[in-house]
Symmetry: C2
Subunit: 101 residues, 2 copies
DNA sequence: AGTATAATTCGATTAAACTAGAATTATAGT
DNA sequence: ACTATAATTCTAGTTTAATCGAATTATACT
């Protein structure tokens, strides 16, 4: 995993609306959430949310599957795991102790 | 720790030059690195790097101490630990297994 | 005092992100 | 076919980030 890709994912998580969305989706687990439900929780316009979801998609942090009229969003766990692995291992190699203390 | 602050830190880490800088500083450990050394590693103009360092400072991710003409930069470990804790616990509460598998 | 080095701040430009209303697409139900 | 709902895409305005040369500040050395 290239540093640029990790930076991209961190940047996409680095917006309050997107981080809140991501947290909601993580808490929703495997079943995920429809876009509408996310919008209800965040209370922002559809077009703005759609734009943020496109950002999270572009970084591979979430996926979407259509179920009739509903688009269901889910966390892409391997993607967030790569980010965590980078921060914990590649990035912090050899100095784990100050992090973990 | 408020979600907005975590988002701010993630956003500041979400730039290749800054993430590379942060990785260098983590690897340098407690002794940190002078700005000059970081600049040599990254190969970008001083003013651009200074701007990125100010960003990392604003998020509390690094600190700087002057030693004569040299400004030494260090990782603020508690700050990055809060980010990791958020991603691992607050954000991923109750669904640790898909992350850890 | 004069010179050199480290690093920031200033200033200006370019590029990208954010926001959201309006229009559009896609699907479901009657 | 018509209507309603879910969601995106279009379009445009505003704001913020990124870049970097030039000027400035701060310190050290001789």
């Amino acid at each position: 995993m290239k540093l640029e890709n990790i930076a991209h994912r961190l940047a996409e998580l680095g917006h309050p609306a997107r981080l809140e969305t991501f947290r909601l989706l993580v808490r929703a687990g495997y079943q995920g959430l429809p876009v509408k439900d996310i919008q209800t929780h965040l209370g922002i316009p559809q077009s703005t949310l759609s734009h943020h979801l496109a950002h999270l998609m572009s970084a591979g942090l979430i996926s979407q599957t259509r179920e009739g009229r509903v688009l269901r969003c889910r966390v892409e766990y391997p993607a967030i795991k790569e980010v965590l692995d980078f921060l914990m291992h590649d990035c912090c190699a050899g100095v784990a102790s100050p992090i973990l203390e």
